[in-house]
């Protein structure tokens, strides 16, 4: 089974701070990590490979430092990593990103399955997966939290979560899935994997290498544009209720009455 996993390097939520005055992210001291959902996409790939064999290629579009994310994926067990990096990719929105990723996947040759995390925790858009599938002309299912492959090795059964419950779906590969955290427990890296990743060369594909049309990538290929950012202030409104448990409960009930909750 030829599997491509798309991953994104994002700022680690634990280290991110926000500047309320400037309305921006404080980049200083921020560590870059693999998007948490993408670990589950990788794990889904590893489990399929463990059962059906094949090769796992990990793709990431980003600045040169995103090489670290790919190396981490290798240390977990991916077979190869490819970095899509070019100044011309900068400013890409979903439309340009899916175009770029699709170009890379087409260049890789026939693929059975493309796996993505449900969404990236920085942008939270959850759009790249579906958009990429449309670009590749393959079916897709989002929010997958269980999957199995039937005996024919081509048909998949999937469980897609929605507000009221779930749908059981069937499709035939090639296909694209976006996965939820509840799908699996990601594995740890292994020492062998880490040693291999350290020595591994990560090929960097730029726009020319991809044969990407200039008008389709980066800012030029993007339809949306950020015009301003701000940091929402949660007004200092904290009130610690005082006294014994009974007194605190009493105070809370009177606040509930004021707010019309009771």
């Amino acid at each position: 089974m030829n599997i491509v996993v798309c991953i994104k390097q994002v700022p680690d939520a634990k280290t991110v701070r926000f500047d309320t005055e400037k309305g921006t992210l404080v980049r200083e001291g921020v560590e870059a990590v693999i998007n948490p959902f993408d670990f589950h996409a990788l794990e889904a790939g590893f489990q399929l490979k463990d059962t059906y064999g094949g090769e796992i290629t990990v793709l990431s579009m980003g600045p040169p430092q995103a090489e670290n994310a790919l190396k981490e994926a290798l240390s977990l067990g991916a077979d190869k990593g490819i970095l899509l990096s070019d100044r011309a990719f900068a400013g890409a929105d979903t439309l340009a990103t899916t175009y770029t990723l699709a170009k890379a996947i087409e260049k890789l040759g026939p693929v059975d399955l493309v796996l993505c995390g449900k969404q990236a925790i920085d942008g939270d858009t959850a759009q790249v997966g579906p958009g990429l599938a449309v670009r590749l002309g393959i079916p897709y299912v989002t929010c997958v939290n269980a999957l199995s492959v039937l005996d024919d090795g081509k048909t998949m059964h999937l469980r897609r979560i929605n507000e009221d419950g779930y749908d059981m779906l069937e499709l035939e590969m090639p296909a694209l899935l976006t996965v939820l955290a509840s799908l699996n427990t990601p594995r740890l890296p292994s020492l062998k994997g880490k040693m291999r990743a350290r020595k591994a060369e990560i090929p960097v594909w730029d726009a020319r290498e991809l044969g990407a049309k200039p008008g389709m990538i980066g800012l030029e290929g993007s339809a949306t544009q950020v015009v301003s950012t701000s940091v929402p202030t949660f007004e200092a409104r904290r009130e610690m209720l005082e006294g014994s448990s009974e007194e605190q409960v009493e105070a809370l009930v009177s606040r509930f009455k004021e707010a019309g909750i009771l």
Binding site: A13, K14, T24, L25, R27, P36, P64, A90, G91, D93, L95, I121, D122, D124, T125, P130, G131, V134, P139, Y140, V141, T142, N145, N162, E163, D164, G165, Y166, D167, M168, L169, E170, L171, L180, A181, L219, G221, A223, T224, Q225, V226, V227, S228, T229, S230, V231, P232, F234, R238, M240, S245, Q248, V249, L252, R255, F256, K257, A259, I261, L262
Partner: protein, 398 residues
Amino acid sequence: MLKVDIEKCTGCGECEESCTFEAIFVEDEVAVVDQDACTLCGICVDGCPEGALEIQGEQGLLATDLSSWKGIWVVAECRSGVLAPVTLELLAKSGELAGKLDTEVTAVLMGHEIESRAQELIFYGADRVLVVDHPELATFTDEVYGNILADLAKKENPEIILAGATAMGRSYIPRVATILETGLTADCTGLDIRAEDRTLLQTRPAFGGNLLATIVCPGHRPQMATVRPHVMRANAPDPDRKGEVIRILPGEDLLSHRVQVLESVKEQAEGPNLSEADVIVTAGRGFEQEKNVELAKELADLLGGTVGATRAAVDAGWLSGRTQIGQTGVTVSPKLYVACGVSGAIQHIVGMQGSEIIVSINKDAEAPIFDVTTYGLVGDVKEILPLLIRRIQKERGS
């Protein structure tokens, strides 16, 4: 590429201040760009008082005349024959936007045996309803729903398409945007119109709500957005409102799909689903044992709410993964959020800090949850919750 006009630049440092990516800084009294770090977001360009910054290679502009695109579309979502609350919220918002654009609101209703809902959409604010009623639409598939919507949009050229950021909307609306090759802003919490150029200003949270970004789609149409349930307010239905209902027969070519729905299972959720709930009572590690989680359920029932979980409570097997709130779970913004025995790891906080009133009960007065709390109670949840439950029951006279 971001260019600095060194004749105009005064080295004032505004750009350096505003850059999220540390990609521009002042050196020898002139702004210098780190092109590798720059993402061409354009914030510094708008903020430069001297007009010394310019992004070269603008976004590709659409060849067609933007003015040929008219009207606001709301994609109605109908689950089990009931209109999703977010649809009604969007109709109200669209009415407001349509006023500013002097245009009309069209609802697109897809499904099977759902035509009776068309009138309801009009009562809630639609001027026109496009009804696509077909047996193939009885179950949701991204392909069929997406193809039909994209096909309709190609024929009618709406200026704006809005949909709910529900499981369904977040799944197939990106398909439509990609087919139409236009921009889509996901999960918006605010929408407005910039009057001078009829641009839709789409405000959405990023980084789990810690950053709000306003996004536009300047050169492409339609302007598309999905909107979070529960952040906008629906109008009261007006049974006297009149509108036009147009039935549309989908072309056969639009009805084929490669994903088959084997079955749709409703899980007996306790209370309303999390993203639409007004009240959420969340159980965290502080409950210590599974049996104590009943207290959270009891309080939720009493307040007409639903129960959420932290990662720890899910990992301990007390509550199902679908109730997990936070970075890798659901993001919620109810009117009342009661965090019980929740320490407040950042991964949890990003999923709930948008709630209107946050009550936190934790035995550790230093727990980070109290930083985002409206009313804080320090104590053991196993002691405080029974007191609170009894007190509310008394208040209700039961």
